[in-house]
Symmetry: C2
Subunit: 450 residues, 2 copies
């Protein structure tokens, strides 16, 4: 028996460390290891055996309820009745690919495109954010004739061969693609918002210059506007205008990855790029689009799509089928009917404010930042040195799990607590989260003192 290989993963369960687990959980871990292999990652030091979901709650086999402050896929709530009903009904009625006509698909497309600036008036459906980003890259290469991409240096945009090359946080040991250039995300904590934004744009211009020196033509710049995997940097709205100008000046396209900030999560706008007053050339949607039904999409300017489509026969078997449209339509209706964008704004602001008080009580809380219901808490050894503390972050995340609150980690040093709940998260939920974090930080500090 060889030892399980380990790769750098944030917040991972050690598959070999099953001692002390509940026997039922240990048995599931063993079955997982046999079928998925030992390198497939589970969250938390003590993995969760889940059996039910409901709004912001996940429930395990023992009936324990966990406050979900991590999952952005069930954006309108776990097992949202509207979505379940729409998908169930459409699945029982008709489900086939997009080479035939279906009213519901165009009804959904029209409603979805109406939330975008009018320049972005075409859509291509796919099944996942990864497929969407991959397609956007194909479109950018075809339309610009370029091969160069610029992304941030701890970005995650997806899992295909091409998208992995622009996703440094995916822990691949493949040789880097020399056509891909990385810039650091704007570190507002260490530089201040204005300086971080200015440095970011200077870095993008420098990357373009280096690309040109090496004879590489820019195909596209890609970012998610809240720099989620980089550690959640929402920065000053508007600074991406300068980025867009630099990218267009070099003949490249601007791809807005809306998989994380999209569908109202930022509270301030339906789409992350809107906070910056820009119109990208493409926007890619994924995760929350169908509240768990696999659907993604690329929204694109029509002249760009037409140029691509005249040279490529793109087809996606499941993409844009009537069940996907039913799921997507129900999500848009739920966001509207339940006022989820406004809730993301108001509850997100409340949560961030409550979290920021923690810095008075805990020297480990270096920075609290974010927008709407996407919040990052940067954990450091102390507020003076601002040194990233991955061990404390891991302890806090696992401590919160033991207190029945689920969060994750982000950032290139693995020291940012990623808070990204379903959008129906309320103030009471926010209070519970803050208490769990505070208690976990205190317990870890206690353990360290002893």
């Amino acid at each position: 028996m060889t030892a399980t290989p380990k790769i750098l993963e944030l917040n991972a369960f050690d598959m070999d460390d099953t001692a002390g687990l509940d026997p039922a959980v240990a048995e599931l871990v063993a079955r997982r290891k046999r079928t998925f292999g030992p390198t497939s990652m589970l969250f938390y030091e003590r993995p969760l055996n889940l059996v039910r979901g409901e709004g912001v709650w996940l429930i395990d086999a023992d009936g324990s309820r966990y406050l979900d402050a991590y999952n952005n896929v069930p954006s309108v709530g776990h097992c949202n009745a509207r979505v379940v009903e729409a998908v169930s009904r459409q699945m029982a009625t008709l489900n086939t690919h997009s080479r035939y006509l279906y009213d519901i698909v165009y009804t959904y497309s029209e409603k979805l495109l109406a939330t975008y600036p009018k320049e972005l008036s075409n859509i291509v459906y796919v099944c996942t954010g990864s497929e969407g980003i991959d397609l956007a890259m194909r479109i950018a290469r075809t339309v610009t004739g370029g091969t160069g991409f610029i992304a941030t240096d701890n970005a995650y945009h997806g899992n295909t061969s091409a998208v992995t090359e622009i996703s440094p946080s995916s822990a691949s040991t493949d040789a880097p693609n020399p056509n891909v250039f990385f810039v650091p995300a704007p570190d507002t904590y260490r530089l201040g918002a204005e300086a971080a934004a200015a440095k970011f744009n200077a870095d993008v211009r420098a990357a373009i210059a280096t690309m040109h020196e090496r004879g590489i033509k820019l195909a596209a710049f890609i970012a998610d506007s809240i720099f989620s995997s980089d550690g959640v940097f929402s920065v000053v709205p508007g600074f991406l205008k300068e980025t867009l100008a630099a990218v267009h000046g070099a003949g490249g396209l601007y791809i807005a990855d809306e998989v994380q900030p999209g569908f109202g999560r930022t509270g301030e706008a339906m789409w992350g790029f809107m906070r910056h007053g820009i119109v990208p050339d493409m926007a890619v949607m994924g995760k929350p689009m169908g509240n768990g039904f696999p659907i993604g999409g690329v929204v694109v300017k029509p002249d760009i799509l037409q140029l691509f489509g005249s040279q490529n026969g793109y087809f996606n078997t499941f993409g844009g089928n009537p069940v996907a449209a039913a799921a997507g339509l129900a999500v848009l209706e739920a966001i509207e009917a339940d006022g989820l964008q406004e809730n993301a704004r108001a509850t997100g602001a409340y949560l961030a404010e409550r979290l920021s008080y923690l810095s008075q009580r805990h020297d480990a809380v270096g920075d609290v930042r974010g927008v709407g219901l996407y919040v990052g808490v940067e954990i450091v050894t102390d507020q003076q040195s601002r040194t990233p503390d991955k061990a404390a972050t891991t302890a806090a995340v696992n401590g919160m799990r033991e207190r029945n609150v689920l969060v994750g980690t982000a950032g290139k040093h693995g020291n940012v607590i990623k808070i990204r709940p379903p959008l129906c998260f309320n103030r009471e939920n926010a209070d519970a989260l803050v208490t769990a974090l505070s208690d976990s930080l205190a317990a870890y500090a206690d353990r360290k003192r002893r």
Copy 2:
């Protein structure tokens, strides 16, 4: 208004040719063109406005019923009650990603893996066949250290950046990747089965030799074993043994694309590669896996997955979630309970026999071939010259659509009628299909004579 760009597509509706369409259909076409752009393809000269599906039937807005002999996604029947019920129940219970434990996911995995040879004992879930093939390519590159791929010269394996490079039938005008080599599919019609198989293996060996001359190391050979897009060549079982030996001899991996032949469609076996008595290194599943719920998977030898996983942090947000597992499990149960593999064998044999009689009545029917419920009818100008006749094929496919039977086309000359119905297709359905094809061929021959 610029003219709609046209690219080579089989059996495509001309988006500009809406004269003569039912006004309701024309309106849907206009809405589709506004949202999807003019390059998004619809099937048939008169597109279908579908509203309902049921077993082997698709029903349009006017209540007309179409016999579906084309769609392999709803493999256990359109709107199969078992699948609808399983998905609806699980969606209402729990739907989240695979970083937590779920009993149903491992139950499904165990049942699915039990249908494979014991060497293929690990699975990675994805959402589509394209994602699966893309991941298999990543795995092959990592594990072999090679970059070379061999595929057939009119193959279709999917739509990502990487997979498009091994899919010549996807009509991309991108520059070819010099690491990808193509061999012609075994043309049993013109060479005879034995000679076609021998030539195929000689071509694979020659491709490997050329690769080595150019300093390219083989990563993988990939084929779907019935060469669907190439024109449906099921050939003599067993000849892929020699292919596998050549590929392994060169240090490459063998990827079995089971998106088309898998899940019992060939009747003779659950998986296409099994007809050949080989054990590939990976098998990729897609389309019928969830009967329309987006799910795919890569089944892989454990040592290969472990090597890949120790160097890459692959994660797929929707892949292998409990709803996907519920869909997949219901599909396996339906195949078993309804005897669909045996039905594919028996009805497929009956259909092929009935179709082969058509060659006596129609000089255009050059060849009937296939296995189980995957049948190709090659249409030629005449049986003497065997010259591919794309115009007659297009006319036959559209003639069948006018007679309420849905089929498609395949082959690099666009002259093979692709017959690939849901697996619950019965003898009465087969008779109706044969009659519709015969009448369509006769009507086209009449029109040409006049």
